[in-house]
Symmetry: C2
């Protein structure tokens, strides 16, 4: 792309227009990143392709991350776009092994938005920032004409101080794969509002700052290798990305993956696979096998990590035949084996 510039590279050529799925966090998002953004922005800091970048300024390692939020509806059980935007960027920083410090927020408002709704979102940003112990230090507001936006979009960017570098390429064969709690809660909370589903117990988004869990893991484990918060595209997409970046295979045990029964039930009704449903308050950790008990103990010592579980491991030499580099294989509950692929289309548009 650096030569000629406007020649659309494969495999984007088959898509002359942007589809919803290009923002879904799955294969099409990945294609956009690899074939459109990276060729143009190429630089060594982008190469690790993590939740945020790690930059060096005068000998200090800082994490820097950005995310735009377009979730619909703005308000949902367990949170709203403001809380989501603050926690989301805080978590991206934490996943880089950084203590989140400072956040920006950029609002794009649609003309006609109720001032009261804006105020609720701002209030919520402020509360979430206090809870996450970060400062909102700079911001911007733009307004677009009615019909040219959708009530409110919100970008947050953030800076954190790296405590210990954690990267996908540090993941090693034999590492335990740990999830900090039940999966799919955020996505199902959003879907239940959108679809008007009613359940016996209310489905709540799990949006939360994960830094307290990260701090505990950094304290307890010398061989913590990588962290990822499995948002859009769920744990299936997150694990596939890391498997690809680290050049390893992964083996999951379906029965070990914590899923709330009501989320499992909702997934069945909606025809969704919880492995692909978004989370906003869960992390996946890769830790050397010998430290997996320590890691579980550290996570479980905090309310956010009480359901933490080892859900699989990075394939070692012996398993490599059935689980080649870059793939994620799952031993299913019924004793079979299936490949867990990266999400290919758009499962849940505007989930974050």
């Amino acid at each position: 792309m650096s030569e000629g510039g406007l020649q659309c590279p494969l495999p984007l050529r088959q898509y002359p227009n942007v589809l919803l799925a290009h923002g879904g966090g799955g294969q099409l998002s990945r294609d956009l990143l690899h074939h459109l953004f990276l060729p143009q922005f190429e630089n060594p800091l982008l190469a690790p392709l993590h939740d945020g970048a790690v930059v060096e300024i005068e000998g200090r390692s800082l994490a820097f991350s950005t995310d735009s939020y377009v979730v619909s509806p703005l308000f949902f059980p367990g949170g709203d776009i403001g809380r989501l935007a603050v926690n989301g960027t805080v978590n991206d920083l934490a996943m880089c092994g950084a203590k989140p410090l400072y956040l920006s927020c950029g609002f794009i408002l649609e003309e006609g938005l109720k001032m009261e709704d804006l105020q609720r979102v701002i209030l919520s940003c402020g509360e979430a920032a206090k809870e996450a112990e970060v400062l909102l230090v700079t911001g911007d507001t733009k307004v677009v004409e009615k019909g040219k936006g959708d009530s409110l979009f919100l970008n947050t960017s953030g800076i954190g101080l790296v405590e210990r570098p954690l990267l996908p390429k540090m993941v090693k064969p034999g590492d335990a794969i740990i999830v900090s709690g039940t999966i799919g809660d955020h996505g199902i909370a959003i879907m239940s509002v959108r679809e008007g589903l009613e359940f016996e117990s209310e489905m709540k988004s799990d949006t939360a700052s994960l830094y307290p869990l990260v701090a505990k893991l950094l304290d307890s484990c010398q061989q913590l290798h990588c962290l990822r918060d499995p948002t859009r595209g769920g744990i299936a997409s997150a694990l596939n990305e890391i498997a690809g970046a680290a050049g390893v295979g992964m083996v999951l045990e379906e029965t070990a993956i914590p899923v709330r029964p009501e989320v499992q039930g909702a997934c069945e009704i909606l025809g969704l696979d919880p492995l692909y449903v978004a989370n906003e308050g869960k992390l996946v950790a890769f830790v050397a096998k010998e430290e997996s008990d320590k890691a579980l103990e550290a996570l479980r010592s905090h309310p956010l990590g009480k359901d933490a579980a080892v859900i699989g491991e990075v394939a070692t030499g012996q398993e490599a035949r059935s689980c080649p580099t870059g793939t994620v294989v799952m031993h299913t509950a019924v004793g079979g084996e299936r490949i867990v692929e990266m999400m290919s289309g758009e499962q849940l548009p505007r989930i974050c």
Copy 2:
């Protein structure tokens, strides 16, 4: 607002819904900031209310800034949304006295956007980043349904290393007010495309990285006090903001303000005042009077600053009677005097 939370404070109560003017950079933007955002986000780093925040991390002063871009059309003479977004955040960092280093970019795409247009914007971001010597290190892409956005919105956030702190409150009575070149070029370039106006010479946006000018000023002037790039709301709004923040009055000489004849002409046709029209490659500098020649020389030594001019001064004791704290007064071309107010409504929606 910290108590009760959802009680809408004056003077926002008269606006139950967001208007375009709330994003225009004038009085309503200011009201939103002071009455909705600041009460919730209050912290000492936000207090100076500059183009970006200055944060301390382990003894280093960093500038941190964010801006969302919703300019329409995406492509215009002299630039496009990508170039604008990169230069805009680079300039906000430079106005803090910082060398811009790292940028993030967050795209919000509307379903159906031509892939070719996205590619042109990305290419343009990459080129502008190279020219401004900053690295685009992290990004994010979201897609919204057709009709819920407007082709492409783009947020950039950035980090810079502060070389010397520059703040509105450092502005002193007697300071020379210098503008680095002709005003209104960006706004008129956008309006001429929107309105289908044709001029003998093409109106071009002035979008550019201003850091080279800032570096020259920092090198040449020991008593450089404050910098501001007068974007939305034009130099009128920028000067009013600084007059308010610094607690000073300002006196401008209309005949000294550089305006291209074709911009002046277009303003007359469109019924606009160039003082309120957006710039994207100009800065206003406040320098001690005795250094104003040095500052002009420094600016004029660079092509971007060739039309630099002293356009007025910060009111001293003697002038304070006709020019009270917080006001900007202009000696007009016809020998009169008028108060230059902050922009009150929305002059040019979606200019950046």
